[in-house]
């Protein structure tokens, strides 16, 4: 069949766009419906955006690591409660031919004394051998050399202001000294890492200093082991080999797996995911109620007309199709303004909170799917009203 013939068939198959006309000839009702759907869509976009943004923010540090694979203890549950495992395991991993390099990392939350107010607050401290690669950002290496001296730390200048005006003082040339866990430390430099859910601030130090600050750490115990693979090595195969090689007092993850591990904690073990998902669900329900109301009263108002069509010989399914098409049109036209408003609000939130909130395809599709389900479910409910259209009653 040529395209032209196909078009002709399509044209001949055309009918009066009843659903479209039913909606557009009642502009007020249409506007109410679209406003309701858009509102529900915006609510879902915001709630899901916040949720994903917060989950994203929980892995600020995780993303920075220069690693292909990560070893952690199976007893670790999240960045705020990392358990130790024997450092030997990381060294054992070197036996695998695909492993190029390793970095043992100490990881714990320590109490930092604000040098100005003298108050303490918990800060995420990472300890590593200053010569080892830690982050993918090459800017760290020259600063790490400053840590070879004992009692020196690199302070994250993006830490929250509650930790004191460390960055400001340091930049103005002052010697910034403070106390961690009762031990004196001096700020040797500034790094830019970013806060996350679990930590309002970060600092880096050498393993040696770290162990000094935390003298109770069992010897030879670390919390995170970074593994770098040879270029071109298959991470999945390497994980399989390492799992066979190492006893089960360590968990082998990819870097992405390490990120997911952290996000899963916040998603499943805290109420954050629930709260925002509930918010999105509320939007969904509100939208359902509005669309259902609009479609139900639309069907009710036109019941005699539907009955007339049935009396003329139109089949019930074709009339149900009209209601379904109304739902479909509402979904499509309600989604567009919601999408546009979502984009604008995300930009607003990014500006105000530094939260990494952006429109991504997955969420755009998710919200559209929810709006579609919302409209079609409401249409399906409104269709039950059509069963009341009795053609025998219209004479």
């Amino acid at each position: 069949m040529t395209p032209w013939r196909w078009l002709q068939t399509l044209w001949q198959g055309r009918r009066i766009p009843l659903a479209w006309l039913l909606l557009t000839r009642q502009p007020v009702r249409l506007a109410v419906a679209l406003a309701g759907i858009s509102f529900a869509g915006i609510l879902m976009f915001m709630q899901l955006g916040f949720r994903d943004g917060l989950f994203d923010a929980s892995v600020t540090i995780h993303r920075l690591f220069d690693a292909d694979l990560v070893l952690i203890s199976p007893r670790s549950t999240s960045s705020v409660s990392m358990a130790g495992f024997p450092r030997r395991r990381l060294v054992q991993a070197m036996a695998d031919p695909a492993v190029e390099g390793i970095t043992p990392v100490h990881w714990n939350l320590l109490l930092w004394r604000n040098p100005q107010t003298r108050g303490t607050r918990s800060i995420l401290a990472l300890g590593f051998e200053p010569g080892d690669p830690l982050f993918t950002d090459p800017a760290l290496a020259p600063k790490a050399r400053l840590l070879t001296q004992k009692g020196r730390v690199l302070f994250d200048e993006q830490s929250r202001p509650e930790f004191g005006p460390v960055a400001k003082w340091f930049k103005s040339g002052r010697t910034v000294e403070s106390e961690i866990a009762g031990k004196r430390v001096r700020v040797a430099g500034l790094v830019g890492l970013g806060t996350s859910f679990g930590a309002d601030g970060n600092l880096l130090t050498s393993s040696e200093t770290f162990l000094e600050l935390l003298p109770n750490t069992p010897p030879g115990s670390i919390e995170v082991g970074l593994i770098r693979l040879q270029p071109g090595a298959d991470p999945a195969a390497a994980i399989e080999r390492l799992k066979r090689l190492l006893p089960d007092d360590v968990t082998v993850l990819t870097k992405q797996g390490f990120i997911n591990f952290e996000q899963d904690y916040w998603r499943t073990s805290t109420s954050i995911g629930f709260i925002f998902s509930l918010g999105a669900a509320m939007g969904f329900v509100v939208g359902c109620v509005i669309v259902y109301q609009v479609l139900y009263s639309d069907v009710s108002d036109h019941l005699p007309e539907y009955a007339t069509l049935m009396a003329m010989g139109y089949k019930l399914p074709s009339l149900l199709g009209v209601v379904a098409r109304e739902g479909l049109l509402l979904a499509a036209f309600g989604y567009l303004p919601a999408y546009a408003a979502g984009q604008g609000l995300y930009a607003l939130v990014r500006g105000a909170t530094q939260l990494p909130v952006a429109m991504d395809t997955t969420r755009a599709v998710t919200v559209f799917t929810m709006i579609l389900v919302m409209c079609m479910a409401s249409a399906a409910l409104a269709m039950r009203r059509l069963a009341d259209a009795d053609p025998a009653e219209i004479f």
Binding site: H302, A311, G313
Partner: protein, 237 residues
């Protein structure tokens, strides 16, 4: 012998159940030939409308034989009734037009039921019918902007657009003034006759009785036979 348009034998019908059960039709016999115009009169509540809905395949038959266009409706499935309704045009007391459609689109809802016709052909037919009922200039008006008589004429065009072989009308003049009512009914009768379409019309309106080939009177659910039919000379032949 051509098939009868309507053939009722011993048709009875009840409403309600148990103690409140009430008989509205009592053994009705009625035959309508193809192309015949029959007017049904009688006091209100005598069962005329019930008869129409049964003949129009809108209601399940309870007792008796109802053959419409050769199809037995007693025990007919929903699907059969639905299909048969496409061959029956219906005109109601109110116009029952779709408010959101223009006159032309309303008529096209009728011609859309015809199988195997393209959109343009169906639209052209709809226009043709509107011209036939004298509304060639009001194609794009919504029912809201039409007068009562015009609306009823659109309804006639819509009913005829599906090429029915039987037309059922329930007091089509009830909402119209006498002159307009007369015009509408004459139009209906002429177009039905051109189509060879049988007409069964319920009416109270004494001024239009003369358009009928035959008058049937109904009282208390029974048809009164022997009513002299005021035949048109043209029909007697």
């Amino acid at each position: 012998m051509p098939l009868r348009a309507i053939d009722l034998e011993g048709l009875s019908h009840w409403y309600g159940a148990g103690g409140t059960r009430r008989q509205v039709l009592q053994g009705v016999h009625l035959q309508v030939a193809p192309g015949e115009v029959v007017l049904l009169t009688g006091p209100s509540g005598c069962g005329k409308t019930t008869l129409l809905t049964l003949v129009g395949a809108l209601r399940q038959v309870q007792l008796g034989s109802v053959a419409v266009l050769g199809e037995q409706l007693n025990g007919a499935t929903r699907g059969t009734r639905q299909r048969l309704r496409r061959s029956i045009g219906m005109i109601f007391q109110g116009h029952n037009l779709l408010r959101c459609l223009t006159a032309e689109q309303n008529v096209q809802m009728g011609s859309d039921l015809l199988p195997g016709l393209g959109y343009r052909a169906r639209r052209d037919q709809a226009r043709e019918w509107l011209r036939a009922v004298g509304l060639g200039d009001e194609l794009n008006k919504l029912p809201h902007d039409l007068s009562g008589g015009q609306k009823q004429r659109v309804a006639i065009a819509r009913a005829l657009a599906a090429h029915p072989r039987l037309l059922l009308a329930d007091e089509p003049t009830a909402a119209l003034d006498s002159r307009t009512g007369r015009e509408v009914v004459e139009l209906l009768q002429r177009l039905a006759r051109e189509q060879g379409c049988a007409v069964l019309m319920v009416t109270h309106d004494p001024r239009i009785l003369d358009i009928a080939d035959r008058l049937v009177r109904m009282e208390d659910g029974r048809l009164l036979e022997g009513e002299p039919a005021p035949m048109h000379p043209a029909i007697i032949q």
